[in-house]
Assembly symmetry: C2
Homo-oligomer: 456 residues x 2
């Protein structure tokens, strides 16, 4: 008898599962239609970019962005909107940087900008022979004998053969992050870092650097990829070149800022929290459209889409605009701190911080069992362009929640265009496509919907 | 004994298959690295767009494009480069179109352009009350009583809920293609068609229309999506509006043009031909960057990549720049005609004509057995972003080869941005991303490599 019952039960189970999937397909289509037809992320992003613009941590415009997204969350239909106060660093670029290369009595101006957190040269600037290195190993080999008193030019090219551009960014990114202190350890007086960009143009790309307190804190600037190519060609001719630059960046005392949080309270398990977020701060050279205005607006859109389609989440869904991702991650740290203090249960947290490009997948940082559960839903995403669940990391704002066991994930959009504009003056609203942005929000909402419905 | 032999043979077979796959992975990586590092498609496209620009069938610039790509194919390493002469239509836009809406004594100018193949109004233009329809059914219902003597405004909105934008294009596209004759059948004197675009802006999008010889040939223009939205709002207020427009487009006698063909002769089966192509002509409002400069340059790049990586194809691989896809498809027809005349064996033909955006898949128009064979290689494409083999159509230039049983396919790039710029003044080089373009060429080369190696 058992022999007959087991297949029968299996059959019933399959039928139920398939009915559930088909119900889910219908709800998911409803979400998608709503976002693709009435989505507000694009127009909200236009406001953030064009009416507020750059919003570096600690700046008055970051405060304006807090206020604007507070209103947007209310308009999206959040039950509650509130702020989480946190202290953030306050780095200031100062006056427009200048720099040039000098040889044979001529000056050749460079397109450059201070790296974030770099200290300044003072108004007189610095001037020294320039040495190119393309790896830290090469720097170590040259040592103090060659490096002392020089300006080091880190020419770490982003590897074009990596199909996923983030891999190349991570690899070359150490030049920006650690280069200054590495060079200072051998007595360099300043560094010029090749911009971390996939393309070649005249725009320098800023981004965070960090000093190692064991060494002198020397000034650090990024030069454009065109300038880096040109400079490298000149140096290969064994020309004796002198570099000069002036930057007046400095650090003010930490200041007060906020995460902005909007919630739809769960109807069955209000104490179980699902977070979806992006970061509200940006670098100061442009509008921070793709980094990360898009992630912020997609997160608000997830809330709006749930509300507009009449989905009442069982769990509490929170859209969080994290402050200070670029410059220290204080918002993400504060979010964890409050979660621990308030003894909150955080089931799942999703971040979008890789640009507003067409979505391709989700990167999942969680247990194997949780990964299996999500990948079982794979087919439900296929019609919406998401197929790739192979990544195993999550974002830096939700990442701290790993400490309390939260399953974390990140949207994986197409990465080909991101590093053309990342942290440069070209990261503007015009480089975001409405349909691509909204399709990201569609897939984020689908994942949130499924996890809310079935748990994790 | 057999019981033991069968699994053993199966085991050996699996080992061999896995060795072959791993050898293929290595070659494929070589192709990808070559294209992503040294690819010429992007710079070739810059030349086509910026030095030649628009190249509508029959125009002097189309001839320049023939000459330029002839040279590019030689530079790419083709053994033989030659032309295939064909007659092409020669439609001319005439002087810049003008048009406006008149009500309450005021004139409101429109952003508009002639549709391709439309006849002109003459310099005096036409002027009549305007009637909006959003479906052919609605047009039929209004009938001659209402339509006679009017200008019909076809407001067929591209459906935003379709994730694949081509689906929305096909659905709404009938307004452009058939609208004029449908309206003329009820006595309309002209038509204004809402531009087939996913976004809303001020650029009109041109494209082919076709007259039905049974009805008067009335002039047809496209208006921008912003104008269409505005006009529709006004008409909904039941305002009595008059539309006027002037276009002076006309048709000259057919003229001589060419497909451009470059070949690498097969080392084992030179008589079996594998074609890869795009179309060289474009509409006349812009540079035809994504339509279809990208497909042309990717096809040349496939040849270049095979040559540069030292792959010697067994079969003859041909890159074909088809002429006149936009305006009649004469180049594609000629290609079939010559294939039949010369009794050529065409194993496979691949087209790229959906923009130079990140590739997502291939659409396969061939036998089920052939589809199975290709989808067995699916995993080899995954690292290069291609996962979707569900489409079952191919392009309009290789399509004619179906008549002689050729397996046909088309590259499927991401479709979200295409109809923002398609056939409009915004289809320029700046809207093509180098990495996306080259990644398309990588996947095209992989497919050609596998089919050449294993047959189909």
């Amino acid at each position: 008898m058992l022999k007959k019952i087991v297949p029968f039960i299996a059959f019933i189970f399959c039928c139920l599962a398939s009915i559930a999937q088909s119900e889910d397909s219908i709800t998911i289509k409803k979400i998608s239609d709503e976002v693709l037809t009435n989505g507000k992320a694009y127009e909200n992003l236009r406001f953030l970019c064009k009416k507020i613009g750059q919003r570096i941590s600690g700046s008055p415009s970051a405060q304006k962005a807090v206020e604007a997204t507070f209103e947007m969350l209310k308009d999206a239909g959040a039950d509650t909107v509130y702020l989480q106060q946190c202290k953030v660093p306050h780095w200031v670029r100062g006056i427009k940087e200048t720099g040039f290369i000098q040889f044979a009595g001529q000056k050749y101006p460079l397109h450059l900008c201070s790296l974030g957190n770099s200290l300044g040269t003072g108004l007189k600037g610095i001037n020294a022979p320039v040495i190119e290195v393309s790896s830290f190993k090469q720097l170590d080999q040259l040592g103090a004998a060659i490096i002392k008193g020089k300006i080091v030019f880190f020419n770490f090219v982003m590897n074009p053969t990596y199909v996923q551009t983030f891999r190349a960014y991570s690899e070359s990114g150490i030049s920006r992050w650690q280069g200054a202190s590495k060079a200072a350890s051998y007595g360099a007086i300043g560094v010029m870092v090749r911009s971390l960009a996939s393309n070649t143009d005249n725009y320098p790309h800023t981004g965070a650097m960090k000093y190692n307190d064991s060494f002198p804190k020397i000034p650090a600037v990024a030069i454009s990829t065109n300038d880096a190519e040109w400079l490298s060609r000149k140096l290969k001719l064994r020309m004796q070149l002198t570099a000069s630059f002036t930057n007046t960046s400095f650090v003010l005392p930490d200041t007060t800022s906020y995460n902005v949080v909007g919630e739809i309270r769960g109807s069955e398990f209000p104490k179980e929290i699902i977070t979806v977020g992006g970061h509200l701060d940006s670098w100061d050279l442009a509008e921070g459209a793709n980094d990360d205005g898009t992630g912020v607006m997609q997160s608000i859109e997830v809330l709006r889409a749930l509300k507009a389609t009449g989905i009442k989440p069982k769990r509490t869904v929170r859209a969080v605009m994290f402050m200070d991702e670029e410059n220290g991650g204080r918002g993400g740290d504060k979010y964890l701190e409050l979660a621990e203090k308030n003894k909150e249960t955080h089931l799942f947290a999703l971040e979008s911080d890789a640009g507003g490009f067409t979505p391709r997948g989700f990167s999942l940082e969680m247990s194997e069992a949780q990964i299996s559960k999500i990948t079982q839903w794979k087919d439900l995403f296929l019609n919406y362009g998401v197929y790739d669940f192979t990544g195993r990391s999550s974002g830096s704002d939700v990442g701290p929640l790993r400490k309390i066991g939260t399953a974390c994930a990140e949207l994986v959009p197409d990465s080909q265009r991101y590093f053309d504009i990342h942290h440069a003056a070209t990261d503007v609203f015009e480089n975001v496509n409405k349909r691509e942005l909204h399709l990201g929000a569609v897939n984020m909402a689908i994942l949130i919907y499924l996890i809310d419905k079935y748990g994790l």
